[in-house]
Every structure is written in C-alpha cells, then in structure tokens.
C-alpha cells in the first residue's frame, strides 16, 4: 500500500471513528506501542483493541504478549551464552579430544564451566552467600542498582523518543554533554552543600536537553533524519569533550592528562547506605524519573500528544496537534533524561570527567528501552537486568576467568531475539499472535515502527 493511499484511508476513517482509528493506524504503521492514555503502562504494548482483548483468554494473552517474548529472549540468550562459555573453556576443549572414550568428562566440564560462570554472575549481581559480613553479602545488589542508575535514566530517554516515533541513537552524546556541563559546575564552582548538587543536576539536565533539542529542532524544521543527526552529534560530543580535556580549564592543575579535577564533595550525590556501598542518591533520582515519565506518558496532555505524533504524525496534525512542537519537546525531555545519566556518572560513581565517562551506556540504553518495550517501568526493569549483567560480569571474570565479553554477547543476543519475535516464537512453539482470531496475521514488533 502506498503512503498516499494509506493516508487517504486513514483520513476518511478518522472522520468516522475518531479515537479507535488512530489506534488502528498506529498498529498498521508497525508501532504496536500505542495505547489510549487510560490503559495502564503494563498493557500498552499488548493488544490494542478492547473488544478483541476480551475475547482472548488470559493464557493466550500471555502466550502472545511481547513481555513473554522479552523474557524468552533473555532466557535464550543466556542459554547460548552458556554454550559459548562452555565451548571456550579450556577443560572442555581438553576433554573434547577424548569425547568418545569418556563423554561424561566433556559434558561434565561443559556443565561446570557454564554453571560456575552464571553462579558467579549471580553472586556478583544479587547476593553473595560467601560474603564475610551481611553488608558484603548484599553489596552485589547495591552494585547492580548503582550500575543500573545511568542505564535507567538514559533508557527512559530513548524509550520516550521511541514512543514519539523517534529513534534516538544519541543518548551517548547527550550523556557526554550532560556529564561535561555537570562536571564543570561540579569542579569549578565552589558552593554550599545542597545548592551545589542541585546546580550540578540542573547543568546536566540542560546539557543533555540542549544536545538532543538540536536534533528535535532540525528534524522538525528541516526534516533531517534523527538517526543521522543523533549519530553525528555523538561524534561531535565525544570530540568536543576530548578537546575540552586538552584545555587547562578542564585539566588538573599541573597535569596535562585528559582528566578533569575531582568534583567537590558538595557536588557529589550523597551515598545512600554510607561508605561501605557505592549506591548513591542518583538511584532515587532514577526512580523519580521513571515515575515522571510514566506520568508524562499516561496522564498528561503532552504525553498524549507525543504518542499521537509517534503513532501517525499526519493524523496528529489533522487532529490539531503541533508535530514540530512534539518533536522538539520529546527530544528535549529525552536529552534531559540522558543528561541525568551523565550526572549519575560524574556526581555519582566516577567523580571526574574523562572522555570515557559515558562508557557504552548511551548504546546500552537503546537495548534497555527495546527490552523494556518502551514503557517506563519496563525500561526500569530492563535497566536493572543490564545493571546486573554489568555488575555480575566483573565477578564472573575474576572468579571464573570467563571473558567479560560473554556479557556483551548475551546482551547483543537479547537485542537480536527481541528484534525477531517470530524466531523466538518458532523456537518455543508459541502461537502466532492473532492466529487464534484469524484476523491480523502479523504482529508488529515493539517499537519496530521507529526502527
């Protein structure tokens, strides 16, 4: 169907059906995440039309829902990761040479390698039963939350843009600029406790918002594609911070290494549980941000407009919503959230600005948003999962010698499977969504429209 035909059809329908048609159009554009604001967040990427939802049993809903696909994608990735760990293990390789003489050796070694690695992953991310004291035992969990903080913030930014139909690849650059501004306020201004941190947070938010706002503005005014813009601005941001770090204003006195002075104590997030843990107040900020985004998307007029723009810009325009304003607004908010991730880095864990301050959080955030089905709490949960991977990966590496790259492989596989729900369905013999109803035979992937 050509675009023109599509528009025509949609327009003629919109006169007659109003709200329901907008949703249908959304589904046909491949953006399954659209839902009326009254529907709770958890159900948003589920079935769109209430009358159909009623006709399904609970089991069918679970079987065909995207949440199940997400969970299964994680399980499959962990399984494949386990195979990879097993087959790169030295003992497995050694015992494979006499597989037919004594197969139990190799199978046993493979099982040991994979299960040891995953046990260490768990031990490093949730609970360490070998810890000397209680605080050492729960330390891994706080570590997971610490690492999850920037992932959640940046993930929310990406998810929000997804919902408005924008594929925001630029979280990396937005984190960097947010962190740069926040760090600069943090180390060059010397202000009283409270005020200083507040200004650091605001600076981070402004930095990210500006960087992403440029994209929204260019997209709205000139029609430039946001993927290109955000990717290019990532490079600009990285090279900008590299340059700034060669200037004395950003370097430590008496040193020419590209590393900033440490932020003042007054500019740092206070630790949540005292010296023994690295978890800081940034995590609380991340929770607040999640609540805010949930409210914004599901309860506010702005959120409604954003989703309308994301579902179908033409229909939104016809309905009297300013698409230009929508793009700029969503990018500014997305950038502000990524800026918060930058603040969590410089004012939370790192305490200094370097060119690697954003790690790969900006890109992981895309995965987090995808896995979280672009819903605020989904993103929150996905952020926790990825935080656990990163935190546990450290222990896995030191305790079992498993390469930390395995964690990367598992993360990448998750994206792969999420991007291909039919693959996951066929592996687990799940019914096709809609197959039971005999209606629409293809279910669009979460946020697939944006991709």
């Amino acid at each position: 169907m050509s675009n023109e035909q599509k528009h025509e059809r949609q327009l003629s329908r919109s006169a007659a059906h109003g709200d329901e048609v907008r949703l249908e159009a959304a589904a046909e554009l491949g953006d399954g995440t659209q839902a009326p604001p009254a529907v709770p967040a958890g159900a948003q990427s589920g079935e769109l039309r209430p009358e159909l939802r009623e006709s399904q049993t609970v089991l069918q809903k679970i079987m065909t829902g995207n949440a199940l696909v997400a969970v299964l994608a994680v399980i499959m990735s962990l399984f494949l990761g386990g195979l990879l760990i097993a087959f790169t293990d030295e003992r497995v390789a050694n015992s494979a040479s006499y597989f037919f003489a004594r197969p139990s050796d190799m199978l046993g070694a493979a099982w040991t390698a994979a299960s040891d690695a995953y046990l260490a992953l768990f031990q490093g991310s949730v609970f360490n039963w070998e810890g000397e004291s209680f605080s050492r035992m729960v330390y891994p969990l706080t570590q997971t939350l610490t690492v999850a903080t920037p992932l959640i913030c940046a993930g929310l930014g990406v998810a929000l843009a997804f919902r408005a139909g924008l594929f925001n690849i630029g979280a990396q650059g937005q984190i960097i600029i947010g962190a740069t501004l926040a760090a600069w306020v943090g180390f060059s201004w010397h202000l009283p406790v409270g005020l200083h941190l507040l200004l650091v947070i605001i600076a981070g938010i402004i930095g990210g918002a500006l960087w992403a706002g440029i994209v929204g503005l260019l997209k709205a005014k000139t029609g430039a594609h946001e993927v290109i813009l955000t990717i290019m601005l990532n490079y600009v941001a990285l090279n900008l911070v590299l340059y700034l770090l060669t200037t004395p204003a950003f370097q430590r006195p008496g040193s020419s290494n590209p590393i900033s002075p440490q932020l003042d104590e007054t500019a740092r997030y206070p630790l949540l549980f005292g010296e023994g843990f690295r978890l800081h107040w940034g995590f609380i900020v991340a929770i607040l941000a999640t609540v805010l985004v949930w409210w914004l998307l599901n309860r506010s007029t702005i959120g409604f407009e954003l989703r309308a723009v994301g579902a179908n810009p033409t229909a939104a325009r016809t309905a009297g919503i300013s698409v230009t304003k929508g793009y700029v607004t969503v990018m500014v908010i997305a950038g502000a959230l990524a800026g918060l991730a930058g603040v969590a880095q410089v004012a939370g864990t790192e305490g200094v600005l370097t060119s690697g301050v954003a790690a790969s959080f900006g890109f992981d955030a895309i995965t987090v948003a995808l896995l979280g089905r672009s819903t605020p709490w989904g993103t929150f949960a996905a952020g926790l999962l990825f935080g656990a991977f990163r935190a546990g990966g450290v222990t896995m590496q030191t305790a079992t010698g498993t390469s930390i790259d395995i964690v990367l492989v598992v993360q990448s596989l998750i994206v792969l499977f999420i991007a291909a729900p039919p693959l996951v369905r066929s592996v687990f013999r799940l019914p096709e969504p809609g197959a039971l109803r005999g209606r629409r035979n293809r279910k669009p992937a979460t946020a697939g429209g944006a991709a």
Binding site: L242, Q262, G356, G401
Partner: protein
C-alpha cells in the same frame, strides 16, 4: 519461495550437522587421561598477583598487553598465582579493583593514568594490599603504591637522531593517538633528537606532525582507527617524509599498510621506513617488518616482573620505578633487516649519545617526563 527457503534451511542444517559430527568424530578419538592422576602440580607459591586493565583490554598491543605479559612471566618464573580483570569501560575500574582486593590479591597492578584516582583511593582504604600502577605518578599516593613510569623521551631522542641521520629527503614525521603525556613524551624526545642532529651536523632535517614549542601536532583521535593512521601516513609520505614514527598503538598498523603500499614501487634507497613504539615492532607487527628501522621500547613486562619479584621477597617500596636508558627500562630496538642501511658512523654516534644521556651530559626534557 517459502518452501524452497525451508528446503534450503534443511539441507544446510543437515550438511552443517554432518560437518560438525565428522569434526567431533575426528577430534574426539583421543585417549582419556588416567582417572584421578597426573594433576599434582609442582608446588606453587600462594602469592597472588593481580592486574586490572584500562578500557583498552589486554590485547591492545600496548601497555595493557605488555604489563599483562610481565605478570604472565612472573607466573611462569616465580610460580605465583595470577588473576586478571579486563575493564570494558571506565565504570568498571572501581568494581574491578575492589573485586581484586576482596579476592585476596597481594599486589594489584593497574594500568594507565585513568586508573590513577581509583588506585589512590583503593590503596588508602586497603593499607595491607600493595599496588603498582603503570604510566602514572601522583604525589598523593600512599606508601603501598609503586608507580611504574618511563622517561621514554630518552630513547625517543636517539630515535629522532637516527631518523634524521638516515632520512634521504630531509623530512621525518610522527603522529600520535591522543594528545596525552604518555604519547607526547615520545614525540618530544623525537623532536629533540632531530633538532640535536641538525645542531650537530648543521643540517636542516624537518619534522612533520609535531611541534614541541606549541605542544601540538597530528593526532588521530584515538587508538583504534587504523584507517586514519594509514591516511595520516600517506599524507606524510606525499609531503616527502621517509621516516615515520606512529605513537598510537595498533593504529600504527595503518602506517605499516601505507608504507608497504608506498614502497611497492620505490627503489631500495628511497624506501620509507617506520619507527615503532612500545615493543619491538619487528617481532610484534606481523607485517612490513622489513621496513621497521627500529623501535622505541618501553620494557614494561620486565619492570612488572621485577616489582612483583621484590614484593614476593618482601622488599616492596612505594619508591617510583622510572624506566631510563640507564636501567634498561627504555631502549632502542635492534635494526634487524635494515641494519645495513644505518652507516657505522651513525651507530657509533648513537652509542655516544646514549652514554651522554645516561651521564646527564645531554639533557632530554619533556613536559611529560616523570619527575
């Protein structure tokens, strides 16, 4: 279409299975070891030496790799246990160092200035664990941190003199990965060496890619993009440079590509030469070795092994190890295939220069030199 696809899938699946099975059959025919025997290892020390890389990883063909090799050598020679943690990003530094300390390491070796703050804090918080850090020095370090630093400019000075001496075109070049002290110290020394040659011989050999006065020059923005290294090198060759020193880790391999291409249609006496850095490039680059004139080596592995050996013996000190020409921490590699292209007179002069640098007669100064 769908059907044929499925058929194809099946057939490829089948052939893959056959292949896999035959590989297994072939690979799996060995004899099993005796049950419960032969695992008694020779007696090992319970000393635990640990290393945390920076975000470059242990396969960076640069300081992470050399330091790791030093630790491996210590494992082999001293019978110690080792543990390693590779950092994917800067956020991993603190967790990695912490996890090393928690797992009972006697000495934690960290690599690079980026780990400086983390090492400083961990050392202050864990006075019973010893630390060593490569390429970074901080006056605020506690006594349980040993900085391992290098006055690389000394060896680079000799390389600069050599480059100026063998250049036919009167132009030599260098470029770096990033404008950071551990890179610019090579370039400063190189520049001084060229200047010293000009002063001694009354020549006017020109250095491209680095200005010591303004501390600025050609940098390709990182240590990954070999394509950029190749382009930069081609530019230098087009401008007439015939000795090139890349100070950018693996990016230097891009230089090798450019030089191999450029030399393909040049007579022997006009060939472009490369000066490698960190390790002896003749042994490590794997391509174009015949064009490597020499290498400005930082012998990190050796220093790491020494530091560990002295700690095993209980002689650890926080006194910085400074690699110099005198203690062999930095050196100029042999000329290998290009030995014949270096006149004997130049070789003798280089030996004299080395002696004068060691005696302090020639002062090689760089802003980036360890103090």
């Amino acid at each position: 279409m769908k059907k044929s696809l499925r058929a194809m899938k099946r057939s490829t699946g089948l052939s893959a299975a056959v292949l896999g099975a035959s590989a297994l059959v072939l690979a799996g025919c060995g004899a099993p070891p005796e049950e419960g025997g032969s695992s008694a290892a020779p007696e090992e020390s319970d000393y635990m030496g640990c290393i945390v890389s920076d975000s470059g990883g242990f396969d960076d063909r640069s300081f992470n790799q050399s330091s790791y090799e030093g630790l491996k050598a210590a494992e082999a020679d001293l019978g110690i246990q080792i543990q390693q943690a590779e950092s994917q990003a800067e956020t991993d530094f603190t967790p990695n160092v912490d996890s090393m300390v928690q797992s009972g390491c006697d000495l934690v070796l960290t690599v690079g200035f980026l780990l400086g703050d983390v090492t400083k804090e961990a050392a202050a918080a864990n006075p019973d664990t010893n630390f060593a850090i490569v390429d970074y020095q901080d006056p605020e370090f506690t006594d349980n941190v040993k900085p391992i630093v290098y006055d690389t400019a000394q060896a680079a000075f000799m390389a600069g003199y050599l480059a100026a001496g063998v250049s036919e075109t009167g132009k030599v070049a260098t470029y770096g990965g990033l404008n950071i002290p551990t890179v610019t110290i090579f370039m400063d020394g190189f520049a001084d060496g060229v200047a010293y040659y000009n002063e001694q011989k009354g020549e006017n050999v020109e250095l491209l890619g680095w200005n010591k006065e303004s501390q600025n020059g050609t940098f390709n923005g990182g240590f990954e993009n070999q394509g950029k290294g190749k382009t930069d090198t081609q530019n230098f060759i087009n401008e007439g440079a015939d000795v090139i020193m890349p100070v950018a880790g693996p990016v230097g391999l891009g230089t090798m590509d450019a030089v191999i291409e450029a030399n393909a249609d040049r007579p022997a006496e006009e060939q472009v030469k490369v000066i490698w850095v960190d390790s002896d490039g003749y042994e490590t680059t794997g391509k174009g070795e015949e064009y490597i004139l020499t290498s400005v080596m930082k012998l990190m592995g050796q220093a790491v092994e020494e530091v560990i050996a002295s700690d095993v013996e209980g002689n650890f000190s926080g006194e910085p190890y400074i690699g110099t020409l005198e203690n062999g921490g930095v050196a100029l590699a042999p000329f290998h295939d290009l030995d014949a292209s270096v006149p004997d007179e130049l070789k003798t002069e280089l030996e004299e220069i080395k002696a004068s640098i060691i005696s302090g007669e020639i002062k090689v100064e760089s802003e980036a030199s360890p103090k």
